[in-house]
Symmetry: C2
Subunit: 131 residues, 2 copies
Amino acid sequence: MAKRNFSSKRKAIYEALCSTDSHPSARWIYDKLKPDIPDLSLGTVYRNIALFKEEGKAQVICSLNSEERLDGNVTPHPHFICTCCNSVFDIGNDNSDSGIASELSERGFSVESRYILYYGICPDCKNKNIH
Amino acid sequence: MAKRNFSSKRKAIYEALCSTDSHPSARWIYDKLKPDIPDLSLGTVYRNIALFKEEGKAQVICSLNSEERLDGNVTPHPHFICTCCNSVFDIGNDNSDSGIASELSERGFSVESRYILYYGICPDCKNKNIH
DNA sequence: TCAAAATCAGTAATGATTATCATCTTTGAC
DNA sequence: GTCAAAGATGATAATCATTACTGATTTTGA
């Protein structure tokens, strides 16, 4: 791992990422920090997110409206994505495997990680559509 | 569903999508068809893929190198993605659920579909790296 | 056969992400 | 503290997949 300087902006970006369970996009983080850090640049947000990914401190959950949605919680856990409002929710733990991982290693694949995504309508959107 | 004309290009695009298990991108389909259909336009490929998605005849599996990877097989089934060569593989059936879907409906979510992605190294890339 | 509707090719526009580069910070030795 | 090297940043331009637009072409059904 390359040597990294301590940077207050890097710290702020990481804290913003970890401060929310909204699974934000780069722009969301930028918009959140910009009022307090007026000279923050969107490129810096992207650059630091790329570093966090390399370091295993952030993961991409999915891409919605062609925007990557991120998670600072890198513990494997399933997500629910609302196809109506594009919210991303954490859901319970990921403890099932159904033998697929072992089937994969028997076939010569090295499994590094697993993502489980549920798509559907979230409670809020369901309620809004009852008119 | 809007009325649709029969179009030979639409048919060719759909057949190309279904003819492979490589989970192609729009450009892959375009490049495959272009020699036989010289006046095919990339926009037409995108336009028809968008229609197939609406009709439920195609699904997006993931986004690799910022390219959407598609599947004409809309039966739910897990995929394995090689982080080395970006190949996408079909893997066995999706028959486990570990009670997450029922937990979700209890919490008010309507689940429409589920995607399971495994990331890792495929057999080919593993062999190539043994030097 | 023919006009309306649907589709297309070609091209321009969009928008997220990345690259560039000159400037500013951080670091660690002194 | 001082200072130079390494690292990080802001501002801007470039990239590239995807979408929108428009006038021409094809399909359809009467």
